[in-house]
Point group: C4
Chain length 196, copies 4
């Protein structure tokens, strides 16, 4: 399951580049056209960092398991279904970021997909904690359980980003960049904490 | 062979997202346009879950083998040829799902590709069972043989989905989602059963 | 080097599906349009089987090496450069297969890329044989050397397929399907022979 | 981290082929049209060889580490963010290589992305050297440190290629092909040198 998940994450993160298409411009207008693509660059960075950090977390969660049951496999498959979808809302948001109403719709869709991934993570961790026979011998379920409220807060914050979309699509992009950087550096340092 | 197959499954499942293209809409019309893409979302989910479950099965079948011969390698290659093709009928069915006659054609094509994969699986398992020297020491060919009728039924049901296409393309999509969820949870629990 | 090569082969073979694009047809015309895509299906099968068999051979060659030097790495990189290119001549040949003059050009281009891969293989094997310190202890360079004439014939046959393009583009496609099936079943059975 | 990085490099290098699109030509005009695509072939080769050599270096750097901290992971993620972007400037440069002003813009963008990757490498190596507890026991930080000036020169040369773009876009392509071939054969032969 780990090799498959790693492969899917690696390909999904790489497909993000396909939102960039070579613009057909009149002679001498390429520089202005490239500058006009900076919304795409912003959503590209936001999604790349977010998927990258999610991948590290996913890897950490799986490394706590010594066995997988059918339910875990199914939860993981649904989680990956949303991870693989990410290049689409990323391209959509890059395209409509500067349009007022459609930018809000795009950003809300983007936040919704990210929230679904977050729900998938939550389900994966909760199922593992409640089935200690799946965990590696050295892992203490209670320590992971102590990290669960942090997870729930993360989920609530992600869900709140959907509402943020109707304030400003730009705020949503900035939020995901900030959240990825925050998670990259502020995960707790060891054991159960790394599940965070 | 296993590393190559895993890589191919991972990329094929990820390319499913490429059926989604950013719609060019008049200002304020994006939400309606996205809602109009739900046939694509339905075929995306059906194919993602189906390939995902097939991958688990494929992995299980390969884990029973301690060696591969040329025939097994060739069968596996033809099996992967159809797995890699899946993003195309998926995109086609997503596009024509709501068109009556063309929806039936798309759904029949979709069912045909899936049936070819199922035939490939059947061939892979039957060849393994009939060449016990390829099997891992702990594997009892008779137990796998006992699972073969279940396999044949699966193949017949998949083949029947081609006919179902001419009743309703939607039924075909619903059938594959249901079949994937069923297989994810109802594979027999151990040994030969997991080959199922 | 092996993990990287495997990954590149797996992705390159999967990108072959991108030559299929959903046709936009008038209502009820999809079936005819799909039937009209059979040149694409033919080139897809030819390239999929060819890359698949090349991958098995590549894996066998690398498994004979216990170390790699800079030259081997560079030869391998140039070999992969042509492998990754294959989806393009495949799509081109699928598109122009039924056009007389442009079909010949496409088929000659297709044969040229395949011949370049074959030259790369030849270089990889010859360099290994001439630097026995790179070979695994159990491998006898003389046995591999005995297989080299077979390799050279393979290269000549591939090169001849470029000329065949000007007779018929279809013959080129049929040739590559036949060559892939032949190589899949007629590689010599063991040791040095598997390098073949 | 290594498996993920390898996967990302493998997919990014393979997506380079997507810059080639089947031209729609009048009957008999395909050959001229393919010859007209040689700027794409040139940038394809330049990027393929450059990413290929970077991948070997990246692998060597990671193989010197026995552990990774959060900062290393984040630096690596940002490095990969630019590696994954490469297919876009490659396609852009292929498209505008023969246009004077837009060719310069494309080449400068291409050089900038490559320079960002080079900065990422520099950061990765410097951070490792300054945190010897991350290094494998057999690695002497001072030997790696001795290789750092060579790295800095490499970075300066890459940065200079941005300026070169305003002389000639072709020079930039030739520079990257030459640099890749040079690095492929002139890395120092062992230990710290291979970090180079």
């Amino acid at each position: 399951m780990e090799a498959f998940s790693d492969g899917v994450f690696a390909v999904a993160i790489t497909l993000l580049v396909l939102q960039f298409t070579v613009p057909e411009v009149q002679s001498g207008r390429l520089f202005a056209s490239l500058v006009g693509q900076w919304p795409n660059l912003a959503t590209y960075a936001a999604s790349f960092l977010t998927i990258g950090v999610m991948w590290v977390n996913h890897h950490t969660v799986l490394s706590h398991l010594k066995a997988v049951d059918r339910t875990i496999q199914f939860i993981n498959l649904v989680l990956l279904l949303f991870v693989v979808l990410v290049p689409y809302p990323t391209a959509l948001l890059g395209h409509y970021l500067q349009s007022r109403q459609d930018g809000a719709v795009s950003a809300a869709f983007y936040g919704s997909v990210m929230t679904c991934i977050s729900i998938g993570f939550q389900a994966l961790v909760r199922w593992s904690v409640n089935h200690p026979k799946l965990l590696n011998p050295g892992i203490d379920p209670d320590r992971i359980r102590a990290a669960l409220p942090g997870y729930s807060i993360g989920l609530l914050v992600y869900a709140a980003s959907i509402g943020l979309a109707f304030v400003s699509a730009w705020l949503v992009v900035a939020f995901y960049v900030a959240a990825a950087v925050y998670y990259a550096f502020n995960q707790l340092p060891s054991g159960a904490a790394r599940v965070d």
